[in-house]
Every structure is written in C-alpha cells, then in structure tokens.
C-alpha cells in the first residue's frame, strides 16, 4: 500500500473543490490581515476620541466608531488576532487531547475505556466558571492559559465523538484483518483508524471553532477573559448587541466578519472531509 499516493489523491480532490478553496483562501487572507494588523490598521485599537463618540461609517472611520470613539475597523483587525488564535489554538488543544483520548478509550474498550470515560464524566461535572476564576487568579491573566482552559473544556466532547466513531470502526473487517496480521497498536491508530475518522473529526473541529470563540466572548463578558482595551470578535459582537438599536454598525460589521469567517472555515472543513473520505465524494 502506498500511502503517499492516497494523500496526493486527497490533496487533488481538495483543490478541485471550489467551495473549499474559496473558504481556504478566505481564511488565509484573514490570517494575513490579522498578522499584519499593527501595520494595516488605520488607528490604534485603544485610541479614544471622546468628542465624536459613536459615529456611523465615514471617510475617516470606514466602519464607524464605538461609544468611546474608537475606530471599529482597527478593533476588528486586532480582534481577528485574538479570535483566530483562540479558535485555532483552543481547538487544536481540544483536538489533540480529545482525539487521542477517544481513540485509546474506544479501541481498547473494557476497563481502560471505563476509567477513561468516567474521568471525562467527572471533568464534565466540575463547575467551569469556578475553575476559570481559579486559573486566572493563581496563574494570572495569561492569554495562552485562557486558550488552554477553553481547550481543556472542549476536548471532552471531542473525545466522546471520536470514541463512538472508533467503536463503530473497530468491528469492521479491515481492522480485524489488520489485527490478525499482527499490526502494532500505534500503527493501527495511525494508518487504519485515524484516516477513517478524519472526516467526522474535521466536521466537528469546524463546529468547535465557533463554540470556542463564543465561549471566549462569554468569559470576557463575565470578566474572566481578555483584558480591555483589547477585544476579540466575540466581545465586539457582545458590545454590538447592547447598542444594536442605536448604533447598528457596531453589531453588523463584527457579526458579518464572524459569520464570513465561520462559513469559510466550514466550506474548507467540508472540503477536507470530502477529500479525505473518498467514499463520501461524488465518484
């Protein structure tokens, strides 16, 4: 079996998927904008202009200003850094832990599975807010810690889904065949199990990213997340909801950006799934 040609096939399929490509390019663009935000942004994200207060889009402020006179476009650009970071890092953390946990629990079954899933149950039950408060207090306001904390919550669901998938796979013929052939466990995971569950994982990962971004907004709103004046898209949307009727631009632009990003992520994720799982594509 030549694995590289399978991957080459997958890449080829991905490239041919127009929606996925558009999604992927959009994400790339956003990442570039976020990275270069300090150079691109017309104003600082914290500079207040109290005399103009909240003003609609104009020549000086392309997307308008918020109640403290801060330029929305600049805040969106800087916010991209936070949100994209949160999205990718926290989801990444959740992925790594959740997938490994789920594969091991699902594949080995029995006692191992039982203990692993009961630990998941315990972690599910603990009050999340208190946990975050404690983390912030003991370790200070470290943004990476925040991401890790969010990831630490999301991996639980990932583990459950992966485990269910693995259980389904485990009893299929090709797995049993490989077992008979004496394939090592690690090899089993890497070459047989993992490729076959990448599909649902990709889909679920693209679902986790928005959840993570909104969870960050929720935490920031409760005073447990990013310190002002820095804001993420989630917090910008939150502020926008409050002034929804008086200053509509404060909601529409962050909301639109958020939605477009997630749509793009989604198309790309779907494309990934389709590329990696030929049986579900249109051949």
């Amino acid at each position: 079996m030549n694995n590289s040609s399978l991957w080459q096939d997958a890449v080829r399929r991905l490239i041919q998927n127009r929606a996925a490509m558009i999604g992927g390019i959009t994400i790339l663009l956003l990442i570039i904008l976020a990275v270069f935000a300090p150079w691109i942004a017309p104003y600082s994200y914290s500079y207040q202009n109290l005399d103009i207060g909240a003003s609609p889009p104009s020549a000086e402020h392309l997307l308008g200003t918020d109640v403290l006179g801060r330029d929305l476009l600049s805040r969106l650009l800087y916010g991209a850094r936070i949100s994209l970071l949160v999205g990718f890092v926290a989801t990444g953390v959740a992925l790594v832990i959740g997938v490994s946990w789920g594969i091991i629990a699902g594949y080995f079954g029995g006692r191992v599975d039982s203990i692993m899933m009961r630990i998941v149950d315990v972690l599910y039950g603990l009050p999340f807010i208190i946990f975050i408060i404690l983390l912030m207090v003991i370790f200070g306001r470290n943004i990476w810690l925040l991401f890790a904390a969010i990831g630490a919550v999301e991996w639980l669901t990932m583990a459950r889904i992966v485990r269910a998938q693995v259980i389904g796979l485990k009893n299929q013929e090709f797995v049993q065949a490989a077992q008979v052939m004496g394939v090592s466990n690690f090899s089993m995971f890497r070459r047989h199990i993992l490729p076959n569950i990448l599909g649902p994982i990709a889909v679920y990962a693209t679902l986790t990213i928005p959840q993570v971004m909104l969870l960050e907004a929720f935490l920031s709103f409760l005073g447990l997340g990013i310190q002002p004046p820095m804001s993420s898209w989630g917090t910008l949307i939150r502020y926008g909801v409050e002034s929804m009727e008086e200053h509509y631009w404060l909601l529409i632009y962050p909301g639109l950006t958020f939605t477009i990003t997630l749509f793009a992520l989604n198309f790309f994720g779907d494309g990934l799934r389709d590329a990696l799982d030929p049986k579900t594509s249109d051949n």
Binding site: G125, R160, A164, G199, Y204, A217, F258, K279, S281
Partner: protein, 307 residues
Amino acid sequence: MLNVLIRRILIAIPVLIVVASLTFFFIRLAPGGPFDADKVVSPQVMKNLNAAYNLDAPLHEQYFDYMSGVVVGDFGPSFRYPGRSVSEMIYTGLPITFELAFYALMIAVALGIFSGVLAALKRNTFLDYFPMAIAMLGICVPTFLMGPILVLVFGINLEVLPVSGWDTLSGDKLLPSITLGFAYAAYIARLSRGGMLEVLGQDFIRTARAKGLSEFSIVTRHAMQGGLLPVVSFMGPAIAGLLGGSFVVETIFQIPGLGRFYVEAAFNRDYTMILGTTIFFSAMIIFFNLLSDLAVLLLNPRARENL
C-alpha cells in the same frame, strides 16, 4: 444490557463523590468569601457570620458534615439567601431549566435531523446548501444575539409574543425555547448530514439500492441507524450544553431557572449552592451520557464490550 446499566449506575456514585469532593475543596480556593460585601463589616461580625455557617470549623470536619448531609438529601442552607435551603432552591429552579432544555432539545432534534438527512440525500443541490447555510447561521449567531433580536422583532415590533417570563406554552415559553434550541439544531443538522453521508457511501447501501429497495426504506431502515451515530453520541454533550447554556437564555428572558442560580452562586461564592447544583447537574449529565451510550449500543450491538 441490564448488567451494563446497573454497572454504570453503580460507577456513577463514586464519580459523583469525586466531583463533589473536588468542587468542595477548590471552590474554597477562589478568593473572596460568601460574606464579603461592599460595606465592610467589623472582624467580630465576620467572625459571627462564619460561625453561624460552620465556616470556622476545620476543613475536613466541614467536609464530612456536608457529605453526610448530602447522603440523606440535605444540601445545607444557602449562604447567600438566609432562610433558603439549597434543596428548596434547586427544586424550584431545576424543573424550569429542565423544561426549557427539553423544548429546546425537541426543536433541535426535529429541525436538525430533518434538515441534516434531507441535505445528505439531496447532496449538492439547493436542498443541501440552503438548510446547511441556515445551520451555519445558527452556529454563528450566539444566544445572546439571537434572543434580543427575536424579542425585538416578535415582542416589541410585532407585539405577538411576550418579552419575558415563563408561564404559557404558546406565549412566553416559545421564544426562549427557540433561542436555545436553534444553535443545537444547527449542530445536529451538520452532524447528521456528515454521518448520513458516511453511511450512504458504504457498500451495503449500494447493495441495497442494487437490490431495488425503496429510497425511503434504505434511508430509514438501513442508513439512519449508523448515520445518526454521531448525533446520538452528541446527545450527552448537547444536554450538558443546554443545561449550561440555559443561563444566558434565562437571563435574557427573565426565567427563574437553575442555570441563573448556578452562575450567580459561583459569583456570590455561595458554597453550598454551588455544590448542590454541581452535584445535580453532574448527575443529570452522567445519566444522559449513559442513555446516549446505551443508544449507541442499541444501534451498534458489536460495541457491547465498550460499555
């Protein structure tokens, strides 16, 4: 099956004890006590307050006191609301949150599975793109945005639905349930579409088609069992999320549910209330995870050894 059920229920007890114990100790680590207030009181008064609630006893003594109460169903008095016991507050709020989560789940499952399966069947057509686009919207639009928008449109501008409260099914219970359920409908739609596509691409489906079975029978009797597997295993986390996410909806619509109590208890450092609701929510999550695992088993009998 019964063995599995009993074994899981028995294991749930130590799990709950671990959750309760961990929570007991680490809520006391968070700075700020239940009686810290803006207007500072004299040290004597603080001493009196702590004594009234046994907070000056050694920690392990408090722990055993508390746990022995829990065993007989006594979750202690609320620290924040003198005269209210935690059990009383939970019994007041839990049914309401449960009801809200139930309606939301019904909406989520009905809408989600229907659109997800439809999208999978009519793949790459309008009937795929449109529901999935709405689903994406549902995932992107957070409850704290959807709620106020629905209220502004239906409650204030059109004046057809009440703006807050929790009294009548066709009245003020409608908007909160939709707000909470819509996001989950979106997730379920995507998960079921993904799952169905997986299954529909498999050989045995091809065989069934070749054998000339009706599309309807293929979908319902052969494909759904496996295709909805991700949805079924998502039920556990979904319910956990609904119970947790109810807080935002309860705040927006002024619903006296347990979600609000729980979050407020955390911020008030109402130790007994935090513990009581944690135990209850944990128990419910464990229960629903168990149900969902059983359902996975039912749909996939060869997975027995994993339970």
